[in-house]
Amino acid sequence: MEQKEFGGKMLDIDEDGFIQDPEDWNEAVAADLAKTEGVEELTENHWKIVHYLRDYYLQYNMAPMIRKLCKQTGFKLKEIYDLFPSGPAKGACKVAGLPKPTGCV
């Protein structure tokens, strides 16, 4: 499995650059993950989304539905795309250290 340095640690990543062990995540890792998404600096708005996703994941072991993410953070979907160009699932979830979802989605 491919490895790449994030936040000063060598971490396993999948083909799309998602980190494989959510336990490895911290804010420094997030900042480096964001760079792979073309986000050079994480602003307060970025962090609001990342922390919401992270907290939800720790509680439920899954990503929230996008609709819930928008409602709870107060961002419109378009605004999330402005912040994370690959969107909530492939962009924001990746930065928050969540695994990529699979199935009928």
């Binding site: 072991n61 539905m65 378009k78 199935g103 009928c104």
Partner: protein, 549 residues
């Protein structure tokens, strides 16, 4: 700059430059060309371990060395011998093809790619050539002259590539004079690959999740509860009605099972909200299950063994909860499993009762063995017996067409019920051309575990015939929505429609029903279940036009 896993990466003009002329070189002499956008990532070791599958390791499709076990050749040949003796259909399909070619141009992947190995006849030939060489007298003696070829690692790579470029949709089988079921051939190909630990992650992770947690997405019980409660909030916002959420309720009359895509992905979640509203209005004594929390069964795309393991969970849970019968939601491949495998694989479910609608008294005799009926059968019966108060004019801003999902259509033959339901709740319904609907329906291009983004080029190519038909009714009749009763459709047709027929939105049928239904105690309905203003109604209240998100 778009990437190969994004639709924007592909120019329509490039994808439409398809050359269907047969190549001059023989197919056995053309090695497989694996390029980004057309293959799926391999199954991760952790998922194989959960399922006790062999040769769990991490590898990449683009690697030269796929880390096959040392005795891989024997494993495949023994595996073939075993299956040829166990499955009469497999043996028959290997023997009976006369290569007439009737199937060739019926496959959406061949139409969209022009790759000869996507002709169903040639896809089967990938396996059949090994069968000829090693299992027929003629092939053993005459080899290539008798259509046989040597089993090599390149053959295995070719199998992996092309058996994951078949959506097991069975359109080709409709046209085969012998009725060869190419899906069963692909299933055999995938089973054999599985003996070497060759799976795609988009299939095997859902299988592992479903086996371990109860659904493909790995949603745990408290996560499902939270999700359904969130939906109940949105339902209340749109309708003023607070629905109950019965979960794991012992002694309920009905167990309701739907694909887990309906829990998280748009537009599936609106379909799910619609189920909840319908059941609430009826006062149905039903329950969700957190263990049987997926109607979908990606085991079907893996092997008979995993198929059986996942299917059995639904019935085990029905028994544990003590329900009378099972109602299935708007899922596609679930019905291939229920109608064509369940009975001899898991059944008979003689601890359950023959489904009987508590509202109309209708007994669904055809489900005497499986004890499970489709929501559209249930809903059509409700409408037929005047049990729903409907105002179809609420859907007047919609001109809808209906995409027959491959499995409900070809594996179940449910053509009339969904159309009857749609016509009852929408005044503007338009059919796509007749060679693209009913038993001839074109696949979404993302079924059988192919609906992942790294496979985007093949999804767009395979989705082109369907997209083309949608575009036709869009241009001719102003169609702006396409209904489908399958979660894979709701997920992947959205991409197909956005690409080939932009402006056409995808919806579940139940969503159209719920938006037309008049509920007891509802508030003035100004927003639909997506919380978008309903045109015509909303304008009276000077609400902004719906944003196009």
């Amino acid at each position: 700059m778009a990437k190969p896993d994004e639709p924007e990466f592909y120019e329509k003009e490039d994808l439409l430059k398809v050359d269907w002329k047969p190549p001059t070189k023989g197919w056995m002499d053309v090695p497989v060309d694996i390029r980004p956008g057309t293959y799926i990532y391999p199954g991760k070791a952790k998922n194989l371990k959960i399922l006790d599958l062999p040769n769990a390791r991490d590898w990449a499709v683009t690697d030269q060395d796929w880390k096959l076990p040392a005795d891989w050749k024997t494993t495949i040949l023994d595996g073939m011998a075993d299956r040829l003796s166990k499955y009469r259909s497999f043996k028959l399909f290997m023997d009976v093809c006369v290569r007439c070619g009737a199937c060739a141009d019926k496959c959406h992947f061949f139409i969209g790619s022009g790759d000869p190995k996507n002709m169903p006849v040639l896809r089967a030939e990938l396996l059949r050539s090994i069968y000829r060489k090693d299992f027929t007298a003629l092939g053993k003696v005459f080899g290539k002259l008798a259509g046989g070829r040597e089993l090599t690692e390149d053959v295995i790579k070719e199998w992996f590539y092309y058996f994951y470029q078949c959506t097991e949709c069975r359109r080709c089988s409709v046209f085969c004079p012998y009725g060869i079921d190419t899906a069963e051939i692909t299933m055999m190909g995938r089973e054999l690959l599985g003996l070497l630990g060759l799976y795609v992650n988009w299939v095997i992770e859902p299988v592992a999740n479903c086996f371990m947690v109860g659904n493909h997405l790995g949603i745990q019980p408290h996560g499902l509860k939270d999700t359904l409660e969130f939906m109940a909030d949105d339902i209340e916002e749109a309708t003023g009605i607070r629905v109950d959420i019965p979960i794991n309720k012992k002694g309920a009359e009905i167990l309701f099972v739907t694909p887990s895509g309906d829990f998280v992905a748009e537009p599936g979640i609106f379909t799910c909200m619609s189920y909840m509203l319908l059941f609430h209005e009826l006062g149905l004594d039903y329950t969700w299950s957190t263990y049987a929390s997926d109607g979908g069964n990606f085991g079907l795309f893996t092997s008979h063994e995993t198929l059986k393991r996942l299917n059995a969970k639904i019935y085990t849970e029905a028994k544990r909860l003590g329900v009378k019968w099972i109602l299935g939601g708007e899922c596609g491949h679930m019905w291939r499993v229920i109608h064509q495998y369940m009975d001899t694989m898991t059944g008979p479910a003689d601890f359950l009762e023959v489904p009987k609608s508590p509202m109309t008294g209708t007994v669904f005799e055809h489900a005497r063995s499986t004890k499970m009926i489709h929501l559209m059968e249930f809903t059509a019966d409700l409408i037929r017996n005047n049990k729903l108060k409907l105002d179809p004019s609420r859907n007047d801003h919609i001109t809808v067409t209906f995409h027959d999902s491959c499995n409900p259509a070809r594996a179940m033959g449910i053509f009339e019920e969904p159309r009857y339901v749609i016509r009852s709740v929408c005044n503007n319904f338009v059919e796509m051309p007749e060679n693209t609907i009913r038993e001839q329906t074109f696949c979404c291009g993302g079924g059988a575990g192919l609906g992942t983004d790294e496979n985007m080029e093949m999804r767009l190519r395979g989705g082109m015939p369907r997209g083309n038909a949608v575009r036709y009714v869009q241009e001719q009749h102003g169609v702006n929505q396409m209904a489908a009763m399958c979660a894979i459709d709701r997920a992947t047709l959205t991409t197909v429609a956005d690409y080939w027929a932009p402006g056409v939105k995808v919806t579940g049928i139940s969503e159209l029903v719920a938006n037309a239904m008049i509920f007891t105690g509802e508030k003035k309905r100004t927003e639909n279940l997506r919380l978008e203003p309903i045109p015509g109604v909303a304008e009276d209240d000077e609400v902004e036009a719906p944003s196009d998100e």
